[in-house]
Symmetry: C2
Subunit: 232 residues, 2 copies
């Protein structure tokens, strides 16, 4: 391979990496907007999140195509190949996080459209912030190939799952005490579920970073063993 | 490439394809067992579904590794490359369908552990059968490279989503009428949600079949346009 071709190849890989981060930034913005508008009741912003989901989808298709082209024409090996495989998987999770942001916005519309009648007192911003931090950290780990950061993301997923269960228990109490809150409570429950899934997808992305850097598959591996892998 | 190498390459691709179908068969068995045991209350079978999830995970990791090896050593092009990319994506969805089967089994344990007290009268077998049929059809479409079958799967996803919403409305009625059913109703709701997601994943898999055969990405495309693509 001539130096020229190799430089062009490097810039193709760099372009894929930077578009993954761009897609990640867009998805993060979608979550932040959806959860802010959920609290403020800003219907226009909720509509905008729903309308902007196609931008996330378009980036997924575009990056996927770039990866196929690189695989077909550049025949990457070793670390470059792992990068491309990790990107193909990462953008699937990013696209699904985008879908969750859209779901949150749709639930927000239902809740505020009903003028928050019979609304359980429930603040999800804490758990939403935590899931959003997991997404940001897994993108950072991807950008800096930082497997310690990736391990921290994997570890936090349990906390998000625990918070989801706490939300569910509290909602059951509200529903039992006042059955008129049932419909609203279920909407809140689906929002909490969407947030929990954002944590799951962020964890998947963090695991791909470990695969990319270490060449080992740490999915379906207990966090203690993931940490051992990283220290090796 | 000598004929010998080419034959070996063909057999590697064939092995990947057959292991995807094997993984698909296992995942289908997991759903069938989970939903049957949910009705019958067979605790041992529910436990077995949970215990067997690691077999699904192991197949995903194994097939993923084979795909990486083929990409690195065989440098596949055109249709072979699309097959490998489609497989990498398909097994991610199959693994997540496996997770949903495990979730159904866990909810089944909670329900039967509580001796079905305050249980809403709700039969999910119809919607479960439909989601399971979608999975089977998308695997058939993959095995036979049948894009008409794939398009039928994409089309059925709407019906499963509609049935999920009907289940939710009915559960809300039960909960309103008798708040003691709330905890059980939420468990049923999560099972219905898991079934709906099996439909979503099967639809994703059907879309990868169209990509594999036609080389076009039909995700985020309306079903009417998918059918047009196929007729072209």
């Amino acid at each position: 391979m001539t130096e020229h071709t190799s430089k062009q190849f490097d810039s193709e890989l760099e372009s894929v990496r930077s578009r993954v981060l761009q897609m990640g930034g867009l998805v993060e913005q979608q979550i932040v907007r959806a959860t802010e508008a959920l609290v403020s009741g800003d219907m226009a912003l909720l509509e905008r999140v729903i309308a902007d989901d196609h931008r996330v989808n378009a980036l997924e298709v575009e990056i996927d195509e770039s990866c196929s082209h690189i695989l077909a024409r550049r025949q990457p090996a070793a670390g470059d190949l792992r990068l491309i495989i990790a990107v193909i998987k990462t953008i699937t999770d990013l696209e699904r996080i985008g879908d969750e942001a859209e779901k949150i916005a749709r639930m927000g519309k239902l809740i505020h459209g009903a003028e928050r009648q019979h609304m359980p007192r429930m603040d999800l911003s804490h758990v939403a912030d935590r899931a959003c931090a997991m997404l940001r950290q897994s993108l950072d780990a991807f950008a800096r190939l930082d497997i310690s950061e990736a391990a921290r993301v994997v570890k936090q997923d349990r906390a998000v799952d625990d918070e989801f269960r706490a939300v569910m228990r509290q909602l059951i109490t509200f529903m039992m005490e006042d059955p008129r809150t049932i419909t609203r409570s279920l909407e809140i429950l689906f929002i909490a579920k969407a947030i929990e899934r954002i944590g799951d997808h962020s964890k998947n992305m963090a695991e791909y970073v470990v695969y990319m850097v270490k060449g080992r598959d740490v999915r379906h591996t207990a966090i203690e063993d993931v940490e051992k892998e990283i220290l090796e």
